[in-house]
């Protein structure tokens, strides 16, 4: 008996370690970015004397970065398809202005105005996607033009003035928190429970997926890695929701973001549409000859990008409680940087939604941490630039080695 267990455990131990090492080498990128985020958070937590992870600051961090994350999800699809969208910052500004003009100046009901803005965003994305997909105009140029056009239209719409404030109901998109049915003093129990449920659900899905994998063949990921990753995600989310519950609960926009992340992760990794978008980015000609309607899909990714930029525009306008002509300037650069830090490839065909979101958080934590430390905007820009460069260099080196 003891012999059997011995051979069962000892013999493969060396092999297992080697297999783990090899796995780590090939999947360094996926873990690397998560480790990088944790390391950066740990660094700022210490450097700021614990301010970074205070409940109020965590909530702030989410609110500050929500619109970048929302756009990064759309940008990921565009970049995976092998294109780029430089216009998202201007579209964000434009739709925010459109919302302000409709709600504040024309008294359009805010719900209707929101829907119209989303439609306008989708239309703008579709218009740009039309030239990119059907006329093969390089997306860099089409969206560079779009960036200028919508920056100009924002100015025109607002007549150079800031427009606001919005009705309180509208502001709730980004400054509201979910109501606690338990009505506890100083602690939003519902928020914490939702956080726990999400964390538990993710862990459950991961475990079930692994079991299924084990049934059909050997899972590629060593068990220790799987366990560590799942535990990390479970406790990470639980803890974050605890922190937020301790302040005012989960922000409404957090729910929106979480839903978008879940939907688009599923779309990219599990659906035929997702497969097709990756195939187009990987080799458009081969995809076309496999019967994939690449033009329509590229068109749709741009329309989707426009709609998400509009959503981000509403969130941003609600957060500032005013629409300004300057809103959204250079946001496109943060969004694109987040996607590339998250592991997407300039050539297309590579990248994940979760990676892009983590990339956005890396940028967000650095912004927030450096601001708390009182580092000047000049140094902040330099450091962020270098981090982007380092992430991509790491990617390229990693790929060469493999």
């Amino acid at each position: 008996m003891s012999e059997i267990t011995n051979t069962g455990l000892d013999a493969p131990a060396g092999q297992q370690a080697r297999a783990s090492w090899r796995f780590l080498q090939t999947h360094l990128r996926e873990y690397g970015i998560l480790f990088a985020l944790i390391a950066i958070m740990a660094f700022f937590q210490v450097a700021t004397g614990g301010i970074l992870l205070r409940p109020v600051n965590v909530t702030n961090l989410i609110l500050q970065n929500s619109y970048i994350i929302i756009m990064a999800i759309g940008m990921l699809l565009v970049i995976v398809a092998g294109h780029i969208d430089l216009s998202v910052g201007s579209v964000l500004g434009f739709t925010g202005a459109l919302a302000a003009v409709m709600i504040v100046n024309w008294d359009v009901p805010y719900l209707l105005a929101g829907i119209l803005c989303l439609a306008a965003g989708a239309l703008i994305g579709a218009a740009q996607g039309f030239w990119v997909a059907y006329f093969r105009i390089p997306s860099f140029i089409v969206t560079l033009a779009g960036m200028l056009v919508f920056k100009g239209l924002t100015l025109w719409l607002l007549a150079g003035q800031s427009v606001g404030p919005f009705p309180a109901q509208f502001q709730l998109i980004s400054s509201g928190f979910i109501n606690d049915v338990f009505a506890m003093e100083g602690f939003n129990l519902l928020s914490f429970l939702i956080g726990l449920a999400v964390a538990g659900g993710l862990a459950f899905m991961a475990i079930r997926g692994r079991q299924r994998e084990a049934k059909t063949g050997t899972p590629a990921e060593p068990f220790a890695f799987f366990a560590a990753k799942t535990a990390l995600i479970f406790f990470g989310i639980s803890w974050m929701s605890w922190l937020m519950a301790d302040f005012r609960g989960l922000p409404n926009v957090f729910i929106v973001m979480a839903l978008l992340i879940a939907i688009y992760s599923f779309l990219t990794s599990r659906t035929t549409i997702g497969r097709r978008i990756y195939a187009i980015g990987g080799n458009e000609k081969a995809a076309m000859l496999s019967g994939i309607n690449s033009k329509r899909l590229v068109f749709l990714t741009f329309a989707n990008m426009g709609m998400l930029a509009a959503l981000a525009g509403l969130v941003f306008a609600a957060r500032l409680n005013t629409a300004t002509p300057k809103a959204g300037a250079t946001f496109e650069l943060d969004v694109i940087a987040a996607v590339f830090i998250g592991g997407a490839s300039m050539a297309g065909g590579v990248g994940t939604v979760v990676g892009a979101v983590i990339g956005a958080f890396i940028m967000g934590v650095m912004n927030n941490g450096m601001s708390i430390l009182g580092i000047g905007i000049d140094y902040q820009q330099v450091i962020k630039g270098l981090v982007l460069l380092a992430a991509v260099i790491f990617d390229v080196m990693n790929k060469k080695k493999g």
Partner: protein, 519 residues
């Protein structure tokens, strides 16, 4: 004869794979030495060791050149002693002139300023030596592949070459250009230049080679002296380690069923030059259970015909009629063509066939994703089953279905592309150069699949520039030349001579016609 190069006990390992295992190779001065072996046998790796792409120290063993031990740390080192390698994928800059390309990295210059007069004069000399009658100022982009190959050779000559290595130099050349290239090698031999020729085309090798080194699975298995009268079958036997009684699987007696695809008066214009007809009024048909070949020289319009049929993926102003199963079929997009039961297996698997960075698992179901999905959601279990099934059926050599296709050998990549189209379950398959650049063993496997498809009642069209291949696997043949179908024959009555005769006759007729016009 003196030995110019000797490689002794070369062993090269990659993580997990021994690519070369104690390889020995000896090349005599002034000979044409052929290096043959199946894909993945280690030919390219060996040449990369020789040329310093894999630097000294990254492999075991010894390289002696001119009797001296050499430790090349890079291509520069090997080029300095006169070892020049011309890769299969040409390394020319299309929008630079011939002369600029020849002296790229090696410019005729004084103090960094290019001496154009000398550049062009020297280039003209070199072009004369390789028999290329073009101005040195011509852009490389304006040359055909055969001429580009000659520019590469001229570039090698400019570096005072002593040992010229050519990796599959004729794989994308037509017959005449190939002939010319081989003649040139023979001429160089007379001038004392030694060459190593890597090729899959055994007829070329037996024509020009003096000595043959055969590699199999990373080891040297034979060194054949061609003066002893070596037959192609001997070489094949050494390459695959077993004798191939026949290079083609047996054919059943042709038993064609109903007509599966009928094409009438198909005409296609060039996408950029609208007035140029590339396919001219072509009519043909193929029946269930039949393998039909389309023979012709390169540039005859065969690929253009196939791609224009398959969802108008090539060309413009396409006219004509296509009937599938007797009914007019809408083939206006690749998706519609696939739905109508058509499949096109491309001649260029890297550009048109595969998503190279993706795995086997993701490439195989790509043409019929809906079959592995429930309401748009991919069923990963079914996806894995499909990929495993075809990996098994076509014997795709790979670590698992999760291996990226970019890391597969050419033959296995081709099998992945074929898997994709088999999974789409078409009625009519068009295979365009299905065995280009793949080794003998994999060729046989693909021929077997083709015959099996016919047996299962599919209609198969094979486009190929290798006439023996067409004669070996088809039941019926069409001959295409300059956009027209100029002959049709049953394979049992066909021969290489008859095919060539049909091509040449059509050319004569055309020139006769144009003379009449002049008159």
């Amino acid at each position: 004869m003196t030995t110019i190069l000797e490689m002794r006990g070369i062993t090269k390992e990659f993580p997990g794979v021994k690519a070369l295992d104690d390889v020995n190779m000896r090349v005599a001065e002034g000979e044409i030495h052929a290096l043959v072996g199946e894909n993945g046998a280690g030919k390219s790796t060996l040449m990369k060791v020789l040329s310093g792409v894999y630097p000294h120290g990254s492999y075991d063993g010894e390289i002696l050149f001119d009797g001296q031990t050499r430790a090349f740390r890079g291509i520069r080192d090997s080029e300095d002693v006169g070892v020049i390698i011309i890769h299969q994928e040409l390394a020319l800059i299309p929008l630079l002139s011939i002369a600029e390309n020849i002296f790229l990295g090696n410019e005729r210059a004084k103090g960094g300023v290019i001496d154009w007069r000398e550049t062009e004069a020297r280039a003209a000399e070199l072009l004369k030596r390789v028999g290329l009658n073009e101005s040195p100022k011509t852009l490389v982009d304006d040359l055909g592949l055969g001429k580009q190959q000659l520019v590469e050779i001229a570039k090698a000559l400019s570096k005072d070459v002593r040992l010229l290595i050519l990796d599959e130099p004729t794989s994308s050349l037509n017959e005449q250009d190939s002939e010319k290239l081989l003649d040139l090698l023979a001429e160089f031999r007379a001038q004392g230049v030694t060459s190593i020729l890597i090729s899959h085309k055994l007829n070329e090798i037996s024509r020009v080679a003096d000595t043959i080194t055969v590699l199999r699975d990373g080891s040297t298995v034979a060194r054949l002296d061609c003066s002893d009268g070596i037959s192609e079958d001997d070489i094949i036997k050494d390459m695959v380690g077993r004798s191939l009684d026949d290079r083609y699987p047996p054919k059943e007696a042709p038993n064609p069923g109903q007509v599966a695809l009928e094409v009438r008066n198909w005409t296609v214009h060039h996408p950029l030059h609208a007035d140029r007809q590339v396919v001219k009024d072509v009519s043909f048909n193929v029946s269930r259970g039949e393998v039909v070949g389309i023979a012709g020289l390169m540039g005859a319009g065969r690929t253009e015909l196939a791609m224009s049929l398959f969802g108008r993926a090539w060309g413009r102003d396409i006219s004509g009629e296509a009937l599938i199963g007797g009914q007019p079929a809408d083939l206006s997009t690749p998706r519609k063509a696939i739905n109508a039961g058509l499949a096109y297996v491309t001649e260029d698997r890297k550009t048109f066939g595969l998503v190279l960075d993706d795995t086997i698992r993701r490439n195989v179901p790509l043409a019929k994703l809906d079959a592995i999905a429930d309401r748009g959601v991919v069923n990963r279990k079914r996806e894995a089953e499909v990929a495993e099934r075809y990996r098994d059926r076509l014997n795709i050599k790979s670590s698992s279905i999760d291996q990226e296709t970019v890391n597969l050998s050419g033959g296995n990549q081709q099998k992945v592309v074929l898997s994709k189209w088999l999974f789409a379950d078409p009625d009519v398959l068009i295979l365009d150069e299905p065995t280009r650049g793949i080794d003998v063993g994999a060729k046989f496997e693909i021929y077997t699949v083709i015959r099996e498809l016919a047996k299962a009642g599919k209609a198969v069209i094979v486009i190929s520039s290798e006439m023996p291949e067409l004669l070996g696997i088809t039941d019926r043949l069409y001959v295409m030349n300059e956009g027209r179908f100029v002959g049709e024959m049953s394979t049992s009555e066909a021969s290489q001579e008859k095919i060539m005769a049909a091509i040449i006759r059509s050319g004569d007729r055309k020139s006769a016609a144009s003379q009449e016009e002049v008159a």
